[in-house]
Symmetry: C2
Subunit: 526 residues, 2 copies
């Protein structure tokens, strides 16, 4: 049920919220757009289905957000349209294909450009909701038990602070690792690679140096990223406050990733590694798709998408792909809406949209060409399909490294991709059996878990609603300042004690020595 | 089925081990004695019940270990008897009551005495098993999928290293926090109190200083504790090896504690906080006990035990307890086998053994006087009974602090206990409703979990058997030396770069300044 705010009477809402069993909780959801919503939607719907009263607040215009089942959707007006949002994407992407982003310097520059770009982008809706007085007053009146949101857009965080309700994050990768900072989670720079470095947990001395610099810079980077958010929050809440400070009050962090792919690192007790909430179970293919993928017999087929945002390529780049596909015995399903050369090979089927998960689940799927977005990555992993990965932006470069280092994928750079390179990578992952074997093992480990991700996420969200937070999981680290946390005052004190002790010892020795000398001199004189 | 090794034919064993479904695993269990076995036994039995082939290897003489259901028990001879073991306990305990162990210095001394005492005690069985050639050869032949053991006695660790099978620990509190060290888990000394300090996570400056010193000393303390174990292992495995090094290869640490009581601290992904494996569901009391506990009407009753090892008290101390109990309206059930004064109050029932969990689960249980052992603590917590705690040794002093700081218990010192102090504490926890209320809240949080502790422990043990370890959860920290882990080499390098940069800048400025001066001088001269 999608309802513009103006259309919903207060009584209707209150009625909706009072329905259900006494045990059920009242949850406010403020999601972020794009793949963030894709990851959160199944959780939100399941919470509603279980009888909780779930209110999802979204802007009137968004790329992917919309009504969800078993929930109440409220919208608020924003000063842009969906069409305007869509227009911006291709122009931003064009730059991606013309720059080599694989060097350490380029990654560093890219990191700061990302922060700069996100600084405004992530708060584009904030004031539209915060200053929508009617809606905010009503949200306050509804007395929610908890607020579920995302760290990517700080709007939910500010609303939770304003409404004074326990905060739950569904958290993927964050450009400046705000989870480490806000949850006070240790992440030794020697083996915990920072976001957008593309490093693994096995780093060379140089990589460890770069990673240490990044780790030292990240608190400042987080402050920089949230410059706009901090201003908006301080003005709205009428007191000086930072986004990281508000985030540090989170009751639970639902970490939407899995150590099958992530590098093992410390976690705090309120960071629950739920895994990635799975997509719908694969469905059988349509008749024409089934016929197409079977067309190459045992050679099988290749699935190729670059995510929901990229369905076109510059003509020259596209030609390299067509050229490579011409030379493989597999058929190829490609989500592509760009220019098609006249002599396009016949083993390639171009589609505006393709049922990615259903295709990857087909027993004849031999390889998956992907940009390394989180959802595609886990769909490939679940179905045990080796990958050729072409990272474009954001966390994709890091994701790619995680798969390559486990021997289940080959990585290519979109900047200098050629048909030969693509062909080499494709032949490798298809014909070298080790890729498939390792992927199947990884897939088995990934799927072998005590609780399904969705169930675990539901449990902890309902736990927070039941107990009005998760105070017993909150580390005392939050009550310490930086000096105290790192025991610098204690180290100084112990150093002082040690120095005093040594001085006293030296003085005593000196004194004894003099006394001895004096008495021996006396004896000599005598 | 308890079978002395000599009584078991190899064919019988092999037959037993080949039974069950193909999915089932082969698990070797080498438990530690006392309450360690009490905690591990339900897990071992459940694993056997589920069709896994479980072989438990124990010494012929032990305080509490014995045959368990659905498992094969093998015993090996040891150079002492159960009677001799039992004799040692009272003489060790007598010293406890005559020393004040509440000062920081006493705790420090106590810590080192504990390490010294445990150094030999924890390896008393090691050589008896390791050099029992027949048994060791057969254990090797049986090709186990995993070995479940305890960090308290290093014997299981050495056997796992010898047999080269994945290692699983069921881990409670360890005197020198070997889990932090061996699992490479960060534990900032500023808010993670070290064992046997009796500190909470909110420490004063002095406490943080003491805790930092303890944190710095713990690696050395662990080496000291394992001096004998290291010697035995190096000799047996015929190469230089330390116990901590072997422990660091553990696939999974089943952390048998719960953050309802523990102070929140970082965990590694292979440390699974399973909670405490629950004891049997409470059963109704026997007729005479039911009659006794109902005898004081709504005043209810008090349960008093000092654990399985202490059922006597020095006469003078016991008199203080009797005197206090005389003055309360509650009835008291006390596990006590010591001297009874002639005028013992009639509201006290003395028993050789009492059904602790069944009594605590009774709705009329008003308070629990306990030494603060882990099992009793969690039984009290599960049943929501406020406590008067009298710690004796080991981790009990720490356990007590955890309950006191949460407002659900009062603590007394056995050294200077008087009937007045006991009376005051008892009246407080019984009559001040906040103790009961807080305990009920804590109990509700403790019992609200996504997976029951036993099921979670079973899952992860079977996971390790299925996948021959849990390599994907092993942090790369294990591949770094101390200098690399703490990035000291990188910090040195970055410092050097900074100094060089500053020097170059200064020299450049100096050069420019001189050039300027020279040219201005020239101009002046001209």
């Amino acid at each position: 049920m999608s309802l513009g705010w103006k259309m919903v009477g207060v009584s209707t809402l209150l009625y909706l919220l009072c329905l259900g069993s006494v045990q059920a909780g009242k949850l406010l959801v403020i999601p972020a757009d794009g793949s963030h919503w894709t990851g959160m939607k199944p959780l939100v719907e399941e919470l509603g289905r279980r009888g909780n009263q779930v209110v999802v607040v979204i802007p009137e215009a968004s790329l992917s957000m919309g009504p969800s089942e078993h929930t109440t959707t409220l919208t608020y007006p924003v000063p842009y349209t969906k069409a305007q949002m869509k227009e911006r994407v291709p122009s931003n992407l064009e730059a991606l294909f013309s720059v080599d982003t694989s060097t350490d310097t380029a990654k560093f520059v890219g990191f700061f450009f990302t922060l700069q770009m996100l600084q405004n982008l992530t708060v584009k809706n904030a004031e539209s909701l915060l200053y929508h007085e009617d809606l905010m007053v009503k949200l306050k009146d509804l007395e929610f038990d908890a607020l579920l949101t995302d760290t990517f857009e700080p709007l939910g965080t500010i609303v939770a602070e304003y409404l004074n309700v326990p905060l739950i994050y569904l958290q993927g990768n964050h450009p400046c690792d705000v989870d480490l900072l806000a949850a006070q989670c240790p992440g030794p720079a020697s083996y915990v690679p920072r976001q957008m470095t593309h490093f693994t947990d096995q780093m060379s001395f140089w990589q460890r140096s770069v990673n240490t610099v990044r780790a030292l810079l990240h608190p400042a980077a987080c402050r920089y990223l949230h410059t706009q958010a901090d201003k908006i929050a301080s003005k709205f809440l009428q007191r000086e406050i930072t986004t990281v400070e508000m985030m540090s009050r989170a009751a639970i962090w639902l970490m939407a990733n899995d150590f099958t792919i992530e590098f093992p690192r410390p976690l705090m007790p309120n960071m629950v590694p739920i895994g990635v909430i799975s997509h719908n179970n694969p469905k059988p293919l349509s008749e024409d798709l089934e016929e197409f993928v079977n067309g190459s017999g045992d050679h099988g087929f290749v699935v190729f998408t670059l995510g929901s945002m990229v369905s076109e390529l510059p003509e020259a780049k596209a030609r390299e792909f067509f050229e490579a596909f011409r030379q493989i015995p597999q058929r190829v399903l490609w989500r592509y809406t760009g220019v098609v050369p006249k002599d396009a090979p016949k083993n390639v089927k171009l589609m505006k949209w393709l049922p990615q998960n259903d295709l990857l689940a087909h027993p004849k799927a031999k390889a998956f060409i992907t940009h390394g977005g989180t959802h595609g990555l886990y769909e490939g992993l679940c179905n045990g399909v080796p990958m050729v990965m072409i990272p474009l932006f954001g966390d994709q470069g890091d994701n790619v490294q995680r798969m390559v280092v486990r021997g289940v994928a080959e990585s290519l750079n979109i900047f200098d991709i050629t048909s030969e390179k693509l062909l080499g990578a494709l032949r490798k992952v298809i014909n070298d059996k080790s890729y498939k074997e390792k992927m199947m093992k990884l897939s088995a480990i990934h799927k072998d878990r005590p609780v399904e991700p969705l169930d675990l996420a539901v449990f902890w969200t309902e736990f927070v609603m039941r107990h009005k937070g998760a105070q017993h999981l909150r580390p005392a680290a939050h009550d310490l300042n930086w000096v105290q946390y790192h025991s610098l005052d204690v180290i100084g004190f112990l150093f002082l004690v040690l120095v005093t002790f040594i001085c006293v010892m030296l003085k005593t020795c000196q004194f004894c020595f003099r006394r001895c000398c004096r008495s021996s001199n006396k004896k000599k004189k005598e």
